[in-house]
């Protein structure tokens, strides 16, 4: 994007073999009878100042990944190294102290704002928590923030239910921005919004990124949105990353069969242009009982015998292009 992607930048967030399992409990004594493997061995790096896109269909574990990275959920296993510090086992006070460096923009602008609080209180809360100042002392700063995200100053005295979805998302962005974090995880920030409003919010995020040198982890299920926003893109399927590369090569030459299918599903505005649509058969398997070997093999048209037995790992096939598929070994 505006930043130079070729330049080697330092790593802000490094995720190593992250796993988040949810126990399935059953029976009278609520014994654990199995696990939903929402995130199952995810590894990637995010560099300073870039936007890292994470795509995948619903239920593949994108949001859980985002929430685990912010330690809103505890990882079952793996490492989260943020700015040189392993935060995966931090708790209590030390965890709260580091929260000012990473923030989240939530998916649902209706549920993510407290209906009983004034917008001014919502946006000033992170500042009150970390600077120990009162809401009154922070008023001007908060009004500035509201202006920055494109809301009028008198929004300060209103309640969230008086705003439209797009405006509410702006409030959520202002709250995430208040502490000037290094990393913002945007969890499908526009999927609940109208298409016309989507682009406004996306452009706002981009402007803010330039102004404050933010790093984004951008989670979405809409490939065109991710394309617009990201420098590098990771494709997720059933709790694992199947392909990571920069955004140009993923659209120009997708390697993983799943990525190919996803890209073929993007609607083409030009009706004369012929294109081949790859239609995936079947449903996403249950993450409680994933298939053996490659999780994608039951739906893959290129599936080989090896795919059913051995789970492929992410390998660098070309420079900066990692794929987890046996076709490229």
């Amino acid at each position: 994007m505006s930043n130079n992607t070729a330049e080697k930048r330092e790593v802000l967030l490094e995720v190593e073999d992250l796993k988040t399992y949810f126990p399935i409990k059953a029976g009278f004594f609520q014994r654990t009878v199995g696990h939903v493997k929402a995130v199952d061995g995810v590894s990637f790096q995010i560099h300073n100042g870039e936007t890292f896109g994470l795509v995948g269909e619903s239920g593949c574990g994108k949001s859980t990944t985002g929430r685990t990275l912010l330690k809103l959920m505890n990882p079952t296993d793996g490492k989260i190294i943020f700015d040189g510090q392993d935060i995966s086992s931090l708790k209590g006070k030390t965890l709260r102290a580091i929260r000012k460096d990473f923030q989240m923009v939530f998916q649902d602008p209706y549920a993510s704002l407290n209906p009983m609080q004034m917008v001014g209180d919502i946006v000033s809360e992170p500042l009150v928590n970390f600077r120990g100042k009162s809401v009154k002392e922070l008023k001007e700063e908060v009004m500035d923030l509201l202006n920055k995200v494109g809301l009028p100053s008198d929004a300060y005295y209103k309640y969230a239910h008086e705003f439209s979805g797009g405006q509410r998302q702006r409030i959520g962005i202002a709250r995430a921005l208040a502490l000037r974090p290094k990393l913002i995880i945007a969890d499908e920030p526009v999927s609940a919004l109208d298409v016309s409003v989507q682009s406004q919010v996306l452009n706002l995020l981009k402007e803010l990124q330039n102004e404050f040198q933010l790093t984004f982890l951008f989670i979405a299920h809409d490939l065109s949105v991710v394309k617009h926003m990201s420098d590098r893109i990771a494709v997720m399927y059933l709790g694992g990353i199947v392909e990571v590369t920069d955004k140009n090569s993923i659209f120009a030459e997708p390697l993983h069969p799943y990525t190919q299918a996803l890209i073929s599903a993007i609607p083409e505005p030009d009706p004369r242009k012929k294109k081949q649509r790859i239609i995936l058969e079947g449903d996403v398997p249950s993450p409680a009982n994933p298939p053996t070997g490659c999780p994608f093999h039951p739906r893959c048209s290129h599936a080989m015998k090896e795919c059913m037995e051995v789970k492929p790992t992410l390998k660098e096939v070309k420079a900066g292009h990692n794929v987890a598929c046996h076709l490229y070994n």
Binding site: L70, L72, R96, M104, F106, A111, S112, L113, P115, S153
Partner: protein, 304 residues
């Protein structure tokens, strides 16, 4: 906008603004429009005022038994007549209101405070803490209420003064239901993304409970509070009627009903038991209507 940046005091500005859509304000507006609830509120408040200030104006002495004026029907001198011990019923009603309402209001406060704290901690934390707190709650809920009140009351009499024995006993045995309701509301409310958002901006758990979740479950708690107020007033009346409530020398509405156990009083001297019975009924009705009104006002789906 200009106004907003000129004025540094947020509070003043709120008052100057014409349109304010605070959820509480909307509810208040709706409540003020509810005629039944407002009438009930008026009735209840006047009862409270009589209970607080009434004894300053009464002239009859109700601490002494008066053989000269036993069982007198209502007259100009004794508005509601006199009881079997010759004490003025109206004056006893006024003093009784004090006792009954004091017991009702204090029990309600204790029950709501204990129930909310237990329910909030259990519901917010979940897991093991939830299990422990809820088992304690079940334990309390499963006490045989009447037996325990009577036994505890007998043990505590003399150690704690007068009505406070009863208040303590009722409160300690009745918070279970409130705790359960508050817990279940917390369980569902904490799944909202704004709670997650509060966590992610580094808000302390205690502040998340108090400032974020509690205001959103307050409507349930307030309605519960009105219900508990009615329930405890009835409980006091019932226990006093059975003779193990408020000590006999302190007048309360329940104590006054105690005399109706005599069938002669019940049949022929209606003025002795009708006033306290009516007072209890009217108070309970009023409280329930107020509760209904609050429930209606706080429910965003019932726009009238």
């Amino acid at each position: 906008m200009v106004k907003a940046s000129l004025n540094t005091d947020g509070q003043v500005l709120i008052k100057n603004k014409q349109k304010q859509f605070s959820p509480w304000k909307l509810a208040r507006k709706k409540f003020l429009k509810n005629k039944i609830a407002m009438t009930s509120l008026f009735v209840f408040v006047s009862f409270v005022l009589i209970a607080v200030f009434g004894p300053l104006f009464t002239t009859h002495d109700i601490t002494r038994i008066n053989f000269m004026s036993m069982n007198l029907p209502p007259s100009a001198e004794h508005w509601f007549g006199t009881d079997t011990n010759g004490r003025d019923i109206f004056t006893r009603m006024v003093y009784g209101a004090r006792t009954s309402l004091l017991i009702g209001l204090s029990c309600m406060t204790f029950i709501i405070v204990i129930g909310t704290i237990v329910g909030a901690i259990a519901g917010y934390n979940g897991g093991k803490i939830d299990q422990i707190f809820m088992r304690i709650t079940d334990f309390v809920l499963n006490f045989p209420f009447l037996v325990f009140v009577i036994v505890l009351n007998t043990i505590l009499v003399g150690k704690v003064s007068g009505v406070w024995t009863l208040i303590l006993v009722i409160s300690l045995l009745s918070w279970g239901g409130v705790a359960r309701i508050v817990r279940s509301r917390f369980l569902s409310e904490k799944e909202n993304e704004y709670v997650l958002a509060a966590k992610s901006i580094g808000t302390r758990p205690i502040k998340i409970i108090g400032k974020h979740i509690l205001p959103n479950v307050a409507s349930t708690i307030i309605v519960q509070a009105t219900l508990m107020l009615a329930v405890t007033i009835v409980a006091e009346a019932g226990l006093s009627f059975l003779g193990s409530g408020v000590p006999a020398n302190i007048p309360s509405w329940g104590n006054m009903l105690f005399e109706a156990r005599d069938s002669d009083v019940l049949r022929n001297k209606t003025w002795i038991w009708v006033p306290p019975a009516a007072a209890i009924t009217i108070t309970i009705l009023a409280i329930n209507f107020i509760g209904e009104g609050i429930k209606d006002a706080l429910n965003p789906k019932s726009r009238r």
